[in-house]
């Protein structure tokens, strides 16, 4: 995406480039927003609703969202479930493996804030936004599959406001708030 980004800033400076840029933006946003492949980062109970959302009856495939458990192929990471301090480095590493542009949906109270484990758990990260730039939060314990579909639609609306000319620097640097070595993929032997 580096090429597209530099193209954006070049167009911005060029005379009359603004018109070209907006048309390209409209095309890019439309195509990005309507084919959001999701990385199902299901860690706990909410993952069940994530599965339910992608199967018959709900089927969020009709929004163009397709679960693809491979970080290299996806646009949006759906963090569904509790992220513990042991799991967080792995989540972060997967996020870093995703190609730009990428978005993040925090599904469920645990991913939003730690949820039921907020007050007195010693091992739960209080919300994935401590180390990931979250775009859409869905509350609920667990949220209904419809909420997830709504989140995808909201994310699409958000993508529609983005421009390839504007850089997404706010996403660039996030550090883990606790002492863990991301290269290890978290704990283990």
């Amino acid at each position: 995406m580096a090429f597209v980004d530099s193209l954006g800033s070049a167009l911005e400076r060029a005379p009359g480039g603004g018109i070209v840029l907006t048309s390209i933006d409209a095309l890019m946003d439309w195509s990005r927003g309507h084919s959001l492949w999701a990385m199902p980062m299901g860690t706990a109970c909410c993952a069940m609703e994530l599965i339910a959302a992608s199967f018959s009856k709900f089927d969020f495939d009709r929004l163009g969202t397709f679960p693809r458990p491979d970080p290299r192929h996806v646009d949006v990471m759906v963090v569904a479930g509790t992220v513990t301090t042991k799991m967080a480095p792995a989540v972060k590493r997967l996020w870093e493996q995703m190609p730009d542009p990428k978005w993040c949906i925090a599904m469920g109270n645990c991913a939003v804030s730690g949820g039921i484990f907020y007050y007195d758990s010693y091992s739960v990260v209080r919300g994935v936004d401590e180390f990931l730039p979250v775009d859409v939060y869905i509350c609920g314990c667990p949220p209904r599959p419809e909420s997830l579909m709504d989140a995808v639609i909201q994310l699409r609306a958000r993508i529609a406001t983005e421009s390839i000319g504007s850089t997404t620097e706010h996403r660039a640097k996030y550090i883990l708030p606790f002492d863990a070595d991301p290269s290890q993929g978290g704990g283990g032997e």
Partner: protein, 380 residues
């Protein structure tokens, strides 16, 4: 974090000649580990020589948190233990509390517990069968299984307002009586269940690819099953006749007429098929319970702040994964002094070490799926 090669080291075999060993890290986020499990697999060619499950990626400290909550407040925490079958942990915990505090449960509440838990067993087994099918590449089967599961979840939603975390079984009974029309809904479901299961049996278990992938893979002997503390369909798949509903009959189970399906080969195929037959038996239990149930209260008058005697209590039930027990220690205060969950998924997962060596890496995934671990319960 899909398959990554961690190291390539030269090791020697028993005869001293060098062999190439490859250490492959599977997980902790991998579509076929059924949650956040990491398996460190040592490979020789494609054959697994050693598989070490690394757990703890979902350790949320539920047992410790229970010490800061009143007895009633712990019930929602137990929902999050086994999130594929939340009713069980509710029930096991409530039985311990009832034993500790000497609470008698009304009969109708016992029936409602049996009905919901047997439905939950079907839902949970559908998830297990569906995901083992997906592990062997048969994703269509997952959709069939999920359709059944979804209908049960809808019934639960009507009953207690939640799709996954029910908080339905409470100390002293259950939270709500059946809503209007629920009995008919449930009856219709159970009547249609047999056909659905027979269809799945033909579609999946009769399939030649399934047989090829699952028969003879991960054979667990009855001795090993007992020795490693396996329970539930994992033990019964190997022919161990151990079902707490029969062998330590609790609640109103002695009043029902049902079979305990047993496998004989102890391979992945038998473990999965035992789950299918168990779902059928659960359907018959639900039908009988609906017949026998009498109107009455669904909750014993229990104080909001239960402060049982100082002492300890252990009670267990047969969950979809095996014998699920909750051990409670009380010091006479309104909060548990200690809660310990005996988790069947944890004990069953330990078998991966025994079963995986000698099989290929793709079979490792099938074996892990057939053990049906739920990591909320493994890590707690």
């Amino acid at each position: 974090m899909t398959l990554t090669v961690e190291s390539r080291q030269r090791v020697t075999d028993a005869r001293g000649s060098a062999i190439d060993e490859l250490v492959v890290n599977v997980g902790p986020s991998h579509p076929s580990t059924h949650g956040v499990c990491r398996v460190i697999a040592h490979l020789e060619g494609e054959i697994v020589t050693k598989a070490d499950p690394v757990i703890g990626y979902l350790h949320r400290g539920i047992e410790k948190m229970a010490e800061n909550r009143t007895y009633l407040q712990v019930v929602p925490l137990t929902d999050r233990l086994d999130y594929v079958g939340s009713m069980y942990a509710n029930w096991a915990y409530c039985r311990s509390v009832e034993r500790l505090a000497g609470i008698t449960v009304p009969e109708r509440a016992e029936y409602l517990r049996v009905i919901t838990c047997e439905l939950q067993r079907i839902a949970s087994h559908m998830m297990a069968i569906g995901s083992s099918a997906a592990d062997t590449g048969a994703s269509t089967m997952f959709l069939y299984a999920f359709e059944v599961r979804e209908r049960i979840i809808e019934m639960f939603e009507e009953l207690c307002g939640s799709r996954l975390t029910y908080n339905y079984v409470r100390p002293g009974g259950v939270s709500f009586d059946l809503p209007e029309g629920w009995v008919d809904l449930c009856r219709t479901f159970c009547e249609g269940l047999t056909d659905k299961l027979a269809e799945m049996d033909r579609l999946f278990f009769g399939n030649v690819i399934t047989r090829g992938r699952m028969k003879g893979v991960g054979v667990l002997s009855a001795e090993d099953a007992v020795g490693w503390g396996a329970s539930g369909p994992v033990a019964r798949g190997s022919g161990v006749d151990w079902d707490l509903r029969k062998d330590d009959a609790y609640s109103v189970y002695p009043r029902f007429d049902f079979e305990v399906p047993l496998g004989d080969a102890g391979d992945c195929y038998d473990r999965a098929r035992v789950r299918l037959f168990e779902s059928y038996e659960s359907g018959t239990i639900v039908m009988q319970a609906l017949e026998q149930m009498e109107p009455g209260p669904v909750n014993a008058p229990v104080s909001r702040l239960i402060a049982p005697r100082a002492g300890e209590a252990y009670d267990h039930i047969e969950s979809a994964r095996g014998s699920l027990g909750v051990y409670l220690v009380s010091d006479g205060s309104p909060r548990p002094y200690r809660m310990k969950v005996r988790s069947p998924a944890f004990c069953n997962l330990a078998l991966l070490k025994v079963l995986a060596p000698g099989h290929t890496l793709s079979d490792l995934v099938v074996i892990l799926g057939s053990l049906d671990p739920v990591f909320g319960e493994v890590d707690r």
